[in-house]
């Protein structure tokens, strides 16, 4: 095999490329080998309510702990006073990839701080 002649820039680009390509293949292979096949498992966390000029909003953090993407994740937050339901809001996340987190807000007319508790849950999602 004949000698490969390159200037320093070409060697540099090649070296970086080699690292990137090898790294990518390594990450994909590792990820694929260690990944299970658990269906989406979605956790919903609500943050502290904030007052806005026209309503009250509550930040919501939704995390998928499963190994599959969930599509069209419907999240619902209910404000409860004892067993009485005061207000209910929901929002949808288009895609929630495996092992990842998305954030959103739910909006309320009444102040969530004035009720006993907020109950957040995920209603359902599709397989993409």
């Amino acid at each position: 095999m004949s000698k490969v002649e390159k200037n320093w820039l070409e060697w540099l680009v090649f070296a970086i490329s080699l690292v990137l390509v090898a790294g990518t293949l390594g990450v994909l292979a590792y990820d694929g080998a260690t990944m299970g096949d658990a269906p989406p498992s979605v956790e919903v966390k609500v943050g502290a309510p904030q007052e806005r000029p026209h309503n009250f909003i509550v930040p919501v953090e939704v995390t998928n702990h499963g190994d599959e993407t969930a599509e069209g994740v419907l999240v619902e937050v209910v404000l409860k006073q004892g067993e009485e339901e005061r207000e209910r809001s929901e929002f949808e996340i288009a895609f929630l990839p495996r092992r990842s987190t998305r954030q959103g807000w739910v909006a309320f007319k009444i102040d969530p701080r004035s009720v006993e508790r907020m109950e957040a849950r995920v209603l359902g999602y599709e397989k993409p």
């Binding site: 004949s2 490969v4 490329s17 990518t24 092992r99």
Partner: protein, 304 residues
């Protein structure tokens, strides 16, 4: 053969331009981003390896340095994927598709899926965007005589040889069947990949009647034959078997077969056959086959 860093920088810049030009539609398509995190890592791995093989083939038969040995071809292919990864990461970040708070697998998936078409574009851009017209700097460019004359140095069937293209240098040309197949495949992938991930392909496939699909097939065949044998597309004369009705039919059929195979491969990669009836899968292949035929004929002649 060594050239100055300034010249190679220029060459890399050409590659980046080509990469962006050919992958632009994919960078701006939602379905492609989604596939980045929906696809299983092993599927992405297979995608990288397939692209690498395609690049090896393209660089071997049509790249800037056709006389290069395997090691050089492999080095070039790795560089092209590397540039593809960097450009994909930069573009996706600029477009707000990757941010640092996303999961690692999502970021890697999106970059990989975009980087591969960019890499093919880089390869085509490096080979095609230089050379012609810049007489002054042409001399210090590597493999410049090959590049400008469209010369094939690979042996093989020599029909259509010896046509002069009227450009500088020797225009002794040989049609190499295997090489042409590889380049046709590259052209088909490059063009078909732009529409393959969209919902529209499924929609058309589901709504088309059998007669429409047959009409699409005949249209694709006629399109391929017209581009390769009738309209005198630049380069067609040298690169395609010329002649009687039989060889035209043969050429058009082979081109269409390559187009169908490429479109099936791309659809398979984008997961378009999952949970789909055989007839619908086949219909998708035929629908995408039109774009793939365009790539395998006109695209092939362009990227030579």
């Amino acid at each position: 053969m060594r050239c100055s860093p300034a010249t190679s920088l220029q060459e890399y810049a050409r590659g980046v331009a080509g990469g962006l030009l050919f992958s632009l539609p994919l960078l701006y398509t939602m379905e492609v981003w989604w596939t980045g995190f929906n696809a299983h890592p092993f599927r992405l791995l297979a995608y990288v390896l397939t692209t690498f093989l395609l690049l090896l083939g393209y660089n071997r038969y049509a790249g800037l340095r056709r006389d290069a040995n395997f090691l050089e071809v492999a080095i070039d292919s790795i560089e092209e994927i590397g540039i593809g990864i960097v450009v994909a990461a930069l573009m996706l970040w600029l477009l707000g598709r990757i941010t640092f708070d996303l999961g690692a697998n999502e970021i890697v998936g999106k970059i990989v899926i975009e980087a591969m078409t960019i890499a093919i574009g880089v390869s085509v851009g490096t080979a095609q965007f230089g050379g012609q017209g810049d007489n002054g700097t042409a001399a210090d460019k590597r493999g410049v005589s090959n590049e400008e004359s469209g010369e094939r140095q690979i042996g093989g069937d020599d029909e259509g040889a010896g046509k002069d293209r009227g450009v500088e240098g020797d225009a002794e040309t040989e049609v190499n069947f295997g090489g042409q197949l590889v380049i046709a495949c590259c052209g088909a992938v490059l063009f078909a990949a732009n529409v393959a991930p969209t919902e529209e392909i499924v929609m058309i496939a589901v709504e088309s009647s059998v007669w429409k699909l047959i009409a699409l097939m005949l249209f694709s065949l006629a399109l391929g034959a017209m581009i390769l044998y009738y309209i005198e597309f630049t380069g067609a004369k040298e690169l395609v078997l010329k002649g009687d009705f039989k060889s035209v039919l043969f050429g058009a059929l082979v081109t269409y077969a390559v187009a169908l195979a490429s479109s099936a491969l791309i659809l398979l990669f984008f997961g378009r056959f999952e949970g789909v009836a055989l007839a619908v899968g086949l219909a998708q292949v035929v629908v995408l086959g039109v774009a793939a035929t365009l790539g395998a004929s006109a695209g092939r002649l362009l990227v030579q």
